[in-house]
């Protein structure tokens, strides 16, 4: 009953892991299977599965996709629809960013993935097994940080981890102390291990929560805003840690408010708004989906705008000494030459790369922190 259905295998898919086990960055020049890299829109039918393929002949083909939800829906008592028909596919070995404004249903989704909340519709498969039915076999292989850390304030950091480890049926009590010490060391809390958790700063609590997720070797880490409350140095450490874990083959499912964080560490991303999945795919494709911006800095703005229009640049606007437009398909050198030939004094000419934030705003049509 726990075997993946045929529909969840993809014999043609490229392996999600390179032979070394490093997470697959999107290969350069990979054919875009769907225009603008938007691989799956809610309601458009069969999802694209190009990068979640299982290695051929692997009996554990369940590893093809680490998280698969189909039509996942949660309607709370009172009729509020928190999650609406979510089709999420998280490829094995990816660092998967999960984005959305406050109230868009991210947390409800994560809780359904972890078996804490029962869906009112649809299915969830984590590590190839149905949740919440297979929670006892799935969850020991999943480390989770959900809506911030929760600790026993009257216990020391070490005792907190010992307690969480005791709750895991697969955790070996003989190696418990050693594993707790290793986890504390990994998040940089070894020196504060004996302190009562209530004396911890927010950043230290966050680190302890991460340590709890790292008590065992995990196949999947679900991290809900892991850098919340950390100072810049701490954020960097956590990002490095996430990259290390991903390099070891752990799939990381990362929910974050910080778009540049997603852009820095994630290979894939999904965006939710108002309980629905807006888009999911490789980060590079998503960012490419929002076009960049040609920016010419010049004291002769009016003349520059005229030349750019003549060259076929769309959406040209002049603002002070700044002229912007859609990046042209032709060589930028030609654009520069044309401007100079027309006597435009050019101070600078660049194409500003589209950020994920631009893509996000383009997709959701709203500011990032607007509640859905």
């Amino acid at each position: 009953m726990d075997e993946p259905s045929a529909a969840e295998r993809d014999p043609d898919g490229a392996p999600a892991l390179s032979p070394e086990g490093a997470p697959a960055r999107v290969p350069d020049g990979a054919p875009a299977t769907v225009p603008e890299g938007m691989t799956e829109r809610h309601g458009t039918g069969v999802p694209e599965r190009g990068r979640d393929g299982a290695p051929e002949g692997d009996p554990a083909a369940a590893r093809a996709s680490v998280i698969v939800t189909r039509g996942l829906t949660k309607r709370y008592r009172g009729g509020q629809l928190a999650v609406d028909g979510l089709d999420l596919t998280v490829p094995a070995g990816s660092v998967f960013g999960f984005l959305g404004p406050n109230g868009s249903g991210k947390t409800t989704t994560i809780r359904m993935l972890m078996g804490l909340i029962e869906p009112t519709g649809g299915t969830v498969r984590v590590l190839g097994r149905p949740m919440p039915r297979a929670a006892r076999t799935v969850l020991p292989q999943v480390g989770a940080l959900i809506e911030g850390p929760a600790l026993y304030g009257f216990l020391s950091g070490r005792d907190n981890l010992l307690r969480y480890d005791a709750a895991d049926p697969t955790a070996d009590p003989r190696t418990r102390r050693a594993r707790v010490a290793a986890a504390l060391d990994r998040v940089g809390l070894a020196a504060a291990a004996g302190k009562k958790a209530k004396a911890y700063s927010l950043g230290m609590k966050q680190r302890l929560g991460l340590a709890a997720a790292l008590l065992q070797p995990r196949r999947l880490l679900v991290l809900d805003e892991p850098t919340n409350g950390l100072d810049p140095q701490g954020m960097r450490e956590i990002r490095t840690l996430i990259r290390e874990l991903a390099a070891d083959g752990t799939t990381v499912f990362l929910s974050s408010h910080l778009l540049d964080e997603i852009e820095q560490v994630c290979t894939h991303a999904a965006v939710m708004a108002q309980g629905r999945l807006v888009v999911q795919g490789a980060v590079a494709d998503l960012a490419a989906g929002a076009r960049g911006l040609l920016v010419v800095t010049t004291p002769d703005a009016a003349e520059a705008a005229r030349v750019l229009k003549e060259l076929g640049v769309g959406d040209v606007t002049a603002d002070g000494d700044r002229v912007t437009g859609e990046p042209p398909d032709r060589d930028l050198a030609e654009v520069t030459a044309a401007l100079v030939t027309a006597g435009v004094r050019v101070r600078g000419l660049i194409v500003e790369r589209a950020s994920l934030e631009d893509a996000f705003v383009a997709l959701t049509g709203e500011g990032f922190d607007v509640a859905g």
């Binding site: 590893r63 809780r111 804490l116 020991p140 969480y164 005791a166 895991d168 009590p173």
Partner: protein, 294 residues
């Protein structure tokens, strides 16, 4: 790291046969480490000290304690003759309120407190398993019932031995039993008193699954206890009284008869079992189907 290696940790990790005891040990340890638990036990330990000193002061002139007959907790007039009676007196004094209140606080906090602190979600994704976690919590609350009762009994025994003579004692029926047998009966009474708290423990645990606020669950449980105790005192409501969990609590005194009068003791234990079954099932049904949103 090869793919085969990646699968190893999963395949190698099977639940150890004794892990439930590891969880129980962790639960007991965590409960006893709470400052609140220690404060409750401290209050319970202080009750026999207060009673013992009060009786000692009252009877300094050689007058019997209690003044009139039938006043004060059971056995209080006997304490001056034999310190062992302080154990019975202390249990009779704490059973109507102090002991069940302490149990109500611990039981009410069991699930709701973890939910309020957010630690419940981490225990469940560990994954502790909802049924196992609930059973562990109930076992821990029952262990606390026993611990709380023993704290009262041992404190009373120590105070009784320090302030009053020990020796042979007279049962309610008038027969004499040796001090050793008296100690045995005291232990038996402590066990029966602890078992009398099983019902309120199950009730508290059920209330605890209904809310995400530990304080609300504790207050509700203690409030229910007080209400039930009041209803049990109103003569016009005698029809429902045999079904109230505290109704037969003081039957433990029947263990001091010779021969022991078992009827009410058995009724008490049966009633506690019924409450444990009903509210235990209700707690299970609620907790295993609940959305954990805290």
């Amino acid at each position: 790291m090869s793919r085969a290696d990646l699968q190893l940790p999963a395949a190698a990790r099977r639940p150890g046969p004794l892990w439930t005891f590891g969880l129980l040990r962790s639960e007991l340890f965590t409960t006893v480490r709470r400052w609140r638990t220690l404060a409750l036990l401290g209050v319970l330990a202080a009750v026999p000290v207060l009673v013992g000193i009060a009786v000692r002061i009252e009877t300094r002139g050689g007058a019997p304690a209690g003044g009139g007959n039938g006043e004060g907790p059971a056995f209080i007039t006997q304490i001056t003759n034999n310190g062992l009676f302080l154990v019975f007196t202390a249990l009779a004094a704490t059973l109507p309120f102090f002991l069940p209140m302490a149990v109500g606080v611990v039981a009410g906090d069991a699930i709701a407190g973890e939910a309020g602190a957010g630690t419940l979600r981490y225990l469940l994704v560990a994954p502790a398993g909802r049924t196992r976690l609930l059973l562990t919590k109930y076992t821990t609350v029952m262990a606390f019932c026993l611990l709380a009762t023993l704290v009262v009994a041992v404190s009373a025994l120590i105070v009784g031995a320090l302030l009053f003579p020990l020796g042979e004692l007279t049962t309610i029926s008038g027969t004499r039993i040796s001090f050793a047998e008296g100690l045995g009966r005291a232990l038996l009474i402590a066990l029966v008193v602890a078992a009398s708290l099983v019902g309120v423990a199950a009730l508290g645990l059920f209330v605890s699954t209904l809310t995400n606020s530990g304080i609300a669950a504790m207050a509700t449980t203690v409030g229910l206890l007080i209400t039930v105790q009041i209803v049990d005192q109103i003569p016009q409501l005698h029809a429902v009284q045999p079904y109230l969990f505290p109704h037969y609590w003081l039957s433990f005194a029947d263990l001091m008869r010779d021969p022991v009068y078992w009827d009410d003791l058995v009724r008490n234990l049966g009633l506690q079992g019924l409450y444990a079954a009903v509210f235990g099932s209700a707690a299970w049904a609620r907790f295993t189907a609940k959305d954990i949103s805290a």
